[in-house]
Amino acid sequence: MNPALLPLFVGVPLAVAGLMAVFTPPMRARSTLMMVPSGLGLAASSFLLWQTRDGQIFAHNVGLWPDGISIPFVADTFTALMLWTTSLLVLVTSAFAAAVHDDRSPFFPSLVLVLYAGVSGALLTGDIFNLFVFIEVMLLPSYGLLAMMGAFGRLRAGRIYVTVNLLTSTIFLAGVALVYGTAGTVHMGELAGAASESPMVAVGMGVVILALSIKAAVVPVHGWLARTYPRASPAVTALFSGLHTKVAIYAIYRLYALVFDGDSTYLWIGVVAFSATMLIGVLGAVGEDTTRSILVFHMISQIGYILFGVALFTEIGLMAGIFYLVHHMIVKASLFLSTGAIEHTYGTGALNELGGIAQRQPLLGLIFMGAALSLAGLPPFSGFVAKLSLVIGAVDAQQWTAAVIMIVVSIITLMSMLKIWGGVFWGKDPARETEHEDAGATSDPDGSTTVTTTRVRPMVLVPGLILTATTLCIGLGAQVLLALSTEAAQGLLDTSGYIEAVLG
């Protein structure tokens, strides 16, 4: 593949977004057009994944500036894997948004596409300042999506979200300034190993990683996530959960491997913080009583698992972390889509106002149950392979406490999923019960009241079904993704190939 085509991952969605904002197309064309860039992106990244499967790295200096001065776009196995998952999620959530008519507001498709472009750029870029710019490109449409598409309280959530993210971006920028002041460059290839050689650069990069940790919602800086995500519309929550925090996680993996060169001096910080994230995230979910707020706390807990791969920094640890990252993006989006479908149809996500959905719509129950079991880490889903390899990695590195925490948290996760299952899918529908009681109270002679059975429409179900089927496929054929993750982990352990590709 010609590496000069890499910027198209950013260019195509941006161009379509701009055109759609200027010439607002009619409704039907809008939903189709919204899916074109991510569909193309899925095809292109599949091809890229095929090309990079044995460690080939593509790099292109944008604007053909000389090596070291230019801003490069780089794609290795890890990048290609992330691009593939991102494109899949954008495509599927766009389909969901079209099915629940979120795209009725004229700027929705444009905002989603700009978000997609920002994420692709942040994954591909090889320059820290450019990473900052692409993260902003990704965040700006999110501010709009959050405040535009939510339910009650969305503006308050929007305020928290914008404030936290602007402060975090400022911290990120301060880190970039410190890195530039100490190392004299922000080019990732030239920065390689700089932080393990000089403690001054390490402090600057530490500030950058701190900012990324806030964006990834690592405990103790996770509070904003749980208070903002449940307020957005279901489609938007699914989109954010799949993309936002994951870009920060990807950047932490990449920067720690490249700039710190996997320096083992600082790994204990990660071990402590990420163990706390796993535990506190899952315990936070205990006190919640709507489907989405429970799922959001689980997201925090899972972020601890994913990042634990960096804290181990062994081949098996990194491989498990990358595998977990891909698995988590798909499963979490699936859970948000299936509960979002219920919320869209029944108008509520509160556990005590729903019930009996599994009996009414077994398929929806299966979609949720598959993804929930995968999240908790049961076979034959992808979560089992992800958790097992991570626990093996932790035991290998003698991190006994962390391994125990991982297993205990899995059990609490399963209990929490059963809480949603018991509240929403099992039992009797509270709305129907009150209807019967009313009928009894009035002692209507023809008491057989015509109960309107609300059902989730098939079009709203399909997106969640696709993602749950994907996690099942990954679980059954784990070898494919394991091989790709191993390749990606080797790219992080031995960064010479990356440096050679960007510096020529």
């Binding site: 700006l140 405040a147 503006l155 929007g158 404030t163 602007l166 402060l167 920028l173 530039y180």
Partner: protein
């Protein structure tokens, strides 16, 4: 030294404002911290070289580093647009904040 003291004072003031309850104060606090970080970027490029960075006119030893200036320009534009958006959020739909603002 002047720059370091200025940055310190601006960050201190910004953090103080951000810890207040009112949205407008938070916005002003963020602006102050943002400008402090811009000064930090400028100082990262070295403030002892101040001539125009034009080849053939000034010797490279005396030309200012253009890269931090480009960074700061980008950062200013991004922060400006977000601040405008935040002010809009502060002004619209104030009745959905159930907690007491005063």
């Amino acid at each position: 030294m002047t720059l370091a003291v200025t940055i310190a004072i601006m960050v201190a003031g910004g953090v103080y404002l951000m810890l207040q309850r009112g949205m407008v104060r938070i916005v002003l606090g963020l602006l102050l911290v943002g400008h402090a970080v811009n000064l930090l970027i400028m100082s990262a490029g070295g403030v002892f070289r101040r001539d125009q960075p034009l080849l053939g006119i000034n010797p490279p030893d005396w030309a200012a580093d253009p890269l931090p200036q480009a960074f700061v320009l980008t950062a200013i534009v991004i922060a400006f647009s977000i601040v405008i958006y935040m002010l809009t959020l502060a002004a619209s739909g104030s009745d959905d904040d159930t907690e007491d603002v005063s």
